[in-house]
């Protein structure tokens, strides 16, 4: 049994590399120079929009913090554009493979967004020229988030959607309040969704909060990794 597992592990690595190479070739067959230009423009556009959002939301707060703590405001926004080259074959374990990896400066836990800046997932594993991204709806996806930049909670994927855990009932929250990424350099720039349902169970200390995410179910061909 042990030998069988060892053989299978060796086979798995070789097979994955082969399949991902074939899949990448399939996806890039129809690529044209116009498409590269479009990708470049989309990347610039997204970069400017994220900069603007970050500035609007954080400028006042940063001014106070800078005066109080005397630290330097980091204003660099690194983006790595990447194409989706493969999906996980099972829809119960949702993740994607991108054609950029550690050689392009991607590391684990970096956020992945679409061209509108909506969160798609985060980097789970990196290889030299590829990375695996766990999607937001994957049950293994967890991330700290803030509700309207005030309350903190834990975003958890549930296959059919996402929910926020560990928000105490003593807090006031309303439907349609926006949800942002927390504890990230792009915390106030990366929007995740808005609250769609709030339940207060008598036997539970916390709310049961459902979130409608902004990212579309049909993923774009090109996504961006936030450095």
């Amino acid at each position: 049994m042990v030998i069988a597992l060892l053989v299978f592990t060796a086979f798995r690595k070789t097979f994955q590399t082969l399949v991902l190479s074939l899949s990448e070739s399939f996806f890039t067959l129809s690529k044209s120079s116009h498409q590269e230009k479009i990708e470049s423009l989309n990347k610039k556009n997204l970069s400017y929009r994220l900069e603007l959002k970050k500035s609007k939301n954080l400028s006042k707060e940063n001014e106070i913090l800078r005066q109080a703590l005397n630290f330097k405001n980091k204003n660099n926004l690194g983006l790595v554009g990447a194409e989706i080259i493969a999906f996980s074959p099972s829809s119960w374990n949702q993740y994607i493979f991108l054609n950029s990896g550690s050689n392009q400066g991607i590391t684990k836990n970096m956020l992945v967004v679409d061209k509108s800046g909506n969160l798609i997932g985060k980097v789970k594993e990196t290889y030299q020229n590829r990375c695996k991204v766990i999607l937001v709806k994957n049950p293994d996806f967890q991330m700290p988030v803030s509700i309207d930049n005030q309350l903190l909670g834990l975003l958890q994927g549930t296959l059919s959607g996402v929910e926020i855990l560990y928000v105490e009932k003593s807090n006031e929250i309303n439907i349609s309040e926006p949800v942002y990424a927390a504890f990230s350099p792009f915390a106030s720039a990366v929007k995740i969704g808005k609250i769609s349902r709030i339940e207060k169970n008598k036997n539970n200390l916390f709310y049961e909060i459902q979130v409608d995410i902004f990212a579309k179910d049909k993923l774009p061909q090109v996504v961006f990794v936030l450095k």
Binding site: F8, R12, F87, S90, W92, N93, Q156, T158, L159, S160
Partner: protein, 154 residues
């Protein structure tokens, strides 16, 4: 290798490719590979289809990091069950309703498949498995229709 077997291999590989490339992303939830294998096992009742199922199961396990030989065991078992039930329940098959037996067996297999997958996920809930089952069941008939046209019955 016969022309029939080559067609079966081609169809099976195409189903795996569809699962990997996913033209519609995860809007399309069904496991195309599993549905194609069930549909094929109604036409090819030999050990060959069980071997194909095992090969595809190994391929799928190799691409899904968290599964350890789950599909390699499930797929050939599912195909074997289809072949066995098809033999045992032949009295249900009639001239006027040839799809009845297929529909019953497919429903049973897809239900078991959904149940096993739901066990592997910590927060599946009820909605997602139910939606997955319904979508898979409907798509099975579509796949079955395509396979009937491309492969001749054995």
């Amino acid at each position: 290798m016969s022309r029939e077997n080559l067609k079966i291999i081609g169809v099976a590989l195409l189903s795996l490719l569809i699962d990997i490339i996913r033209p519609l992303g995860y809007i399309f939830l069904a496991d195309t590979t599993f549905l194609v294998l069930i549909a094929l096992s109604f036409y090819n009742k030999t050990f060959f289809i069980i071997f194909i199922a095992f090969a595809l199961g190994i391929a799928q396990d190799a691409l899904i990091f968290s599964s350890k030989l789950f599909y390699a065991i499930e797929y050939p078992l599912a195909v074997a069950v289809v072949i066995l039930l098809n033999k045992l329940l032949h009295f249900i098959k009639t001239k006027n309703h040839p799809l009845v037996l297929k529909a019953l067996i497919a429903a049973l297999l897809i239900l078991i498949h959904t149940f096993l997958l739901a066990l592997t996920v910590k927060s599946a809930g009820f909605f997602y498995p139910a939606y997955f089952f319904m979508q898979s069941y409907l798509i099975f008939f579509f796949i079955n229709g395509i396979i009937e046209k491309t492969l001749r019955k054995i």
